[in-house]
Symmetry: C2
Subunit: 765 residues, 2 copies
């Protein structure tokens, strides 16, 4: 898996220079006298990184299918364990037993108005050496879809998102008792069958339209890297926006003896059969649809006129799966801290793929291994980190963040007490730095980005990213968001990191446990989408299109390596709270605009409905159903949140100033004072969580960042308030305004206490 | 032909009512005591309109190919003449001899890397009864392209517009010595080979991509109305933005004895061979291209990956034409005015098609015939118009507005002395009112639109149009222009009519002679683009998809009939000058924004170029050439224009007020005063022209409205200033600011003189 929203990072310090950041005078979190030693350490770290290592590990680990339960998945766990141990880490394998259904039989036929039997098979491709080694691979399927045998009329529902169903209603079409065909994209995969089910559909087909990742995007594999006609995107359809991890053990670790739900009570398992198909299999089905011509933005790149249906196309869909528990193997490796052993700096990347998984996830995993090897060398040279380092090779991410979630749930109490940072990566490729996470870490990421060279352009990865943001914002077709971001970057000195939704293993750490978190990868010059979750996500494909030369693998190791080493060594955890308060203030502005715009558009639309305008504007030869008016949008009381953000900005500014001064003064503090500071900082992010969680999904506790209930991977910031407004639940919006305000106040309390401790120290020298 | 930019009109009087305009208290230009008689006249006029007439005329006139020089074109002229005469009009045929090349031989082959011979033929289609009557039809071709026989590498240039060549340059590709393949759309057809030639290409292929008018737009003919795989869009590629009409007689009528240019000196004849092709013929050529993958917005709906080239595709293109003069037959019919015989109210629609021409132009022509028949009946009942009515059935519009331009040039002096209005129509179909023209006529059009019932919705055509504008502006994907228009409409009481560029026979009247002009049609619920300029533009196709029942043909006759009868009968020409001044003020605001935005974007882009940002943002595995910096945009002196517009607003408001009062008072004026008023109004629009015309194209003399030199059909308002800014010719922008200011001052002088005459009259009662 990987997040569907690109996140970005960059930095400029000098307003006079468009791209170049002036060398930073120091390192965040370090006393001036410790900076040189840290830089020397990082140089030594860099010297151990060797692209040939990455290539060799990738070729070995992607040689066979490595999904959960496969022999090669276990072999890869053992291979990783052996490497870590070899490099000097204290490593072990931790096993969980999770529900992981696999298909026994699947079929799909068009039964009217003509007959066609779907192939449901990805053939071998010349030049891709593993594409015929699929004897042990799972066929294309959707994990956690229901078993079933259904025959019904087909309806095309575009991306299958809420607005698409509104559009269908305006055409007088519904999906009750029907099977929907939906194209990938526009929202997370798992929402498509879920929303289809909620609208009454009895089955769901999800296909890859060539406009998105096939010949419409670029040359197809093997000529180029994009999806060939028979390529299929597998994937999980578990209802992860409710909770990820094992469906049978929500909130607790899936250990051998864990108390498990019966399958029938597992809220995240889907209720209808669902199947992913190729565009070769989809075309005859779509071509057989009648009814209205699909709206312009529903049309893909198949050489047909897209129709909505329902019918006359009728399909027969049958799926039967095997529903047993399977083991997942997490490899956990540690190096104990020399001064603060109970502060853990954690790093993770998953290891399981849907088939060979060369891109997803092994490209990120090999970078993590390179870091671990290099740190191992430092260790052998006598170095030991100030704080404890924990490296994790997760299993079972693809079906539902299984390995990371079960480990985080099992060790929740210890993690909430000890963890100071979790850094994730997943697929990594040529291109631009993509960093997201807790905004107090924005300064750290920026300083690191300024010190890593882009392998292609030989400027800092930050300068290159900055160029790309400015160029994108200056494009005449730039979106409003792109323009706004470019303005922010041009105004300097900082560029925001993104906010995290879901789609990879950071989720349990950030949104369930409330730990400071980062996700860092490179990307944007790849053709990954063409083979995403197919058998063609292979070593041969990655070696041509992903990161030939493995220089971005090395760049990722350098980038995350610095983040890990700085967090591990810093005199004071390297946070800058003003970045967090500025960001939250921006989110709150968005919330106000959201409510205001919704109020205006609702009024306008209701007036038009009342005036019969939609009917008059429609073509009477086509069926059209005017939407019903919606209730007016009241003015909301968000005063608590407005006040909390105001206070946060003041508290953050004061704390940053006092902390920086204290650091420059050499932190002249007592032992208990230092301990209190570390403890205040360690629990900082947790103060943003609420034990009652978000509405209908108490597993998600973070009140600033969450995956959207209706976006899946995509983030919703200030989610309790934002999603309530979007869903027009006004009392809930106000309730979450209050809850979020209280969380921010707890955060400000900690900032104020830190300022209190820092201030005498700051003035001492 | 038809204009490519939809123009719109609507009206709201009551701000309390979203859609309904209150019945207007009077009629613009009529004394209160004459309103009832006019309304009774219009009722009688309506009673004669019979949809069965329209259908019968269409079937007869579209029975055979009727292009310039065809036997059926002449027969249709005689048929039209006989009808007019039969209905009591004083009618005759006026003939001109014009250069009109027709193809003798054409061929197109792909010669490398594989071979393919293009079909270049539109086959008969079952159910379309004329599609096999093509023995006398011209094959698909581009009129006024050069003869030639060329073989060269192919390059795909998207729409072939200036920005596309900039994009090509950034890919390091040029078209020198090559043949380009370009898709229809995004700009006028004739600009595509012209720009290709200017960039060094030696040949040009223009194809219809299915995304625009084939299966990507809707079901293809005969299942639906959209372009079948072998359908081809013919058309003229004469350089009409320089001058329309016969290429050999610019500015003068192509009468028998006219002094003609040698062909080699005809500026509007193209210099390279160019050919229109179907998507069936285009696909093998496009599929054979290599080079970079085309940018996302260059891709159409063919099931291939679009590449730019150049090569390896190589094509051989050969065209040989017959270059003789051919006759065009204009039918001119008059009814002399009873009081003001030397004030002419002129109406026109062309009669020639590219093949059968049922949609284009006969659907508009039959509405015009219905008006003429009805007026004939009124005449037979003893009525005679106050001003003279002139009805014109133009020939030769398709190759280059030949019939209308040559007639207008021949009778220029008389027309500039006598014409008070020219009203044009062309293709007319189901849907919404589309009105554009001289903005002083906006009030007249609005009053008429409020009195014509929409045949499908049974509200006024104005109410329906208003609904459509408001709904479009409320769509979440609405463009900035759509939103702005909806805001304007919602604020009431008026909705703007559009501005006229080119694309039909209004051009010589408005932009060469400077006559008050309107273009009025219905459309927007049709599938015309699917058969536009092909053999499938047939009676059978129009009868199914154009206006089944011919009710919009009747609605057009009602709409234009009222406009003609009101202008013919009015006590005072029904203009409202405030609409013109408001509109010009808006255009001037646009000009200021244009210059400001260009200044900002130039600065921003140059900074990014200087900082190497485009290089850093590019993918080094793909060829990328950073654009060169452009000169900074100075602040322009547009003060003369600012002042002229300020004065115009004041003069227009005063004139409207004084005129309305004088009219209510019964126009107590002397004969010479009335004559002076009529003369001032008749020459009003001409004061907006300048005899030196626009830069490089002195045929176009109007300083407010012109077809864009780089848009072809699309309008540019305040064109001398706007196009100079767009082309970064700063001194020219300031020169045309002054010239345009002088024109507006002349207009204001007339307004002030009118006010002077009106004022004593207004206070007399």
């Amino acid at each position: 898996m990987k997040p569907s929203v690109l996140s970005i990072v960059g930095l400029v310090l000098a307003t006079g220079s468009l791209l170049g950041a002036e060398p930073s005078p120091g390192l965040l979190g370090f006393m001036p006298e410790h900076v040189k030693a840290q830089q020397a350490l990082e140089q030594k770290f860099d010297q151990q990184l060797n692209p040939a290592d990455l290539r060799a590990w990738l070729e070995t680990m992607a040689a066979e299918p490595n999904h959960v339960g496969s022999p090669h998945d276990k072999l890869n766990a053992e291979f990783t364990l052996a490497k870590f141990q070899d490099w000097g880490w204290d490593a072990h394998i931790e096993t969980f037993d999770v529900l992981f259904p696999t298909p026994l039989a699947q079929s799909l036929e068009l039964v009217a108005p003509t007959r066609f039997t779907a192939k449901l098979h990805e053939p071998a491709i010349a030049g891709d050496r593993t594409s015929d080694k699929t004897q042990l691979a799972l066929p294309p399927y959707h994990a956690y879809g229901a078993d079933g045998d259904v025959t019904a009329e087909l309806v095309y529902v575009n991306r299958g998102m809420p607005d698409d169903y509104k559009e269908l209603e305006e055409h007088g079409v519904n999906v009750k008792g029907r099977i929907v065909i939906v194209r990938y994209g526009g929202g997370w995969r798992g929402l498509k069958p879920k929303l289809a089910y909620e609208h009454g559909a009895i089955g769901c087909l999800v296909y890859s339209d060539p406009i998105d990742d096939g010949y419409g995007a670029g040359d197809t594999y093997p000529k180029g890297g994009y999806r060939p006609a028979d390529g299929v995107q597998r994937g999980s359809v578990a209802d992860m926006p409710v909770y990820p991890g094992d469906p049978l053990t929500p909130g607790i670790g899936a250990t051998k003896d864990a108390k498990r739900l019966p399958l029938s009570e597992a809220k995240t398992v889907l209720k209808i059969p669902v199947m992913p198909i190729s565009y070769a299999d989809a075309q005859p089905l779509l071509a057989a649809l009648g009814g209205a011509v699909a709206p312009a933005d529903w049309r893909g790149a198949l050489p047909i006129t897209y129709h909505i249906g329902p019918g006359p196309a009728k399909v027969h869909l049958a799926i039967k799966s095997e529903w047993s528990l399977k083991p997942v193997y997490d490899v956990i490796a540690m190096i104990k801290g020399r001064e603060l052993p109970d502060e853990w700096v954690i790093r993770g990347n998953h290891r399981d793929g849907w088939v060979f998984g060369a891109w997803d996830p092994l490209s990120g995993h090999i970078a993590m291994m390179a870091e671990a090897k290099s740190i191992g060398t430092l260790l052998k040279q006598g170095w030991q980190p100030r704080r404890t380092l924990v490296y994790c090779s997760w299993d079972g991410e693809e079906p539902g963040l299984l390995g990371s979630t079960e480990w985080a749930e099992t060790h929740a109490e210890e993690l909430q007490r000890k963890a100071v940072l979790y850094v994730n990566s997943d697929t990594n490729t040529r291109g631009f730095l993509q960093a997201s996470g807790s905004h107090a870490l924005q300064g750290l990421v920026n300083q690191v980005a300024a010190s890593v060279l882009d392998p292609e352009m030989h400027v800092s990865v930050q300068a290159r990213l900055r160029a790309s943001v400015l160029v994108a914002g200056n494009n005449k077709n730039a979106s409003a968001a792109e323009r706004a971001l470019a303005r922010q970057v041009a105004a300097g000195p900082e560029v925001p990191i993104g906010a995290l939704g879901s789609g990879s293993d950071f989720t349990p750490f950030l949104q369930h446990l409330g730990l400071g978190t980062l996700s860092i990868e490179y990307g944007g010059e790849d053709q990954q989408e063409g083979v995403y979750h197919s058998i063609y996500d292979s070593f041969d494909h990655y070696d041509r299109f992903g990161d030939p030369g493995y220089h971005y693998g090395v760049a990722l190791a350098q980038t995350i390596g610095r983040v890990m080493l700085r967090m591990a060594e810093a005199d004071l955890q390297p946070v800058r709270e003003g970045d967090f308060s500025d960001t939250v203030a921006r989110y709150l502005e968005e919330i106000h605009s959201l409510a205001d715009n919704l109020r205006e558009s609702t009024t306008r639309t209701n007036q038009l409905i009342e005036a019969n305008a939609y009917i008059l504007a429609s073509d009477p030869t086509e069926r059209y159903v005017q939407p019903a008016p919606t209730g007016a949008v009241p003015f909301l009381n968000l005063a608590a949140l407005d006040n909390a953000v105001l206070r946060l900005k003041q508290s953050a500014a004061a704390c940053d100033t006092a902390g920086a001064k204290a650091l420059t003064a050499g932190l002249p503090l007592s032992g208990p004072q230092r301990a209190e500071i570390e403890s205040l900082l360690q629990g900082m992010e947790q103060s943003l969580t609420d034990p009652t969680g978000l509405p209908g999904r108490d597993w998600f506790r973070h009140l600033i960042y969450a995956p959207g209930l209706l976006t899946g991977y995509g983030v919703k910031t200030l989610p309790g308030v934002r999603e309530a407004i979007e869903a027009r639940r006004w009392p809930e919006a106000e309730k979450y305004s209050d809850l979020t305000a209280r969380a921010l106040d707890r955060y400000s309390d900690r900032l104020d206490r830190l300022t209190e401790i820092f201030t005498p120290a700051a003035t001492k020298n």
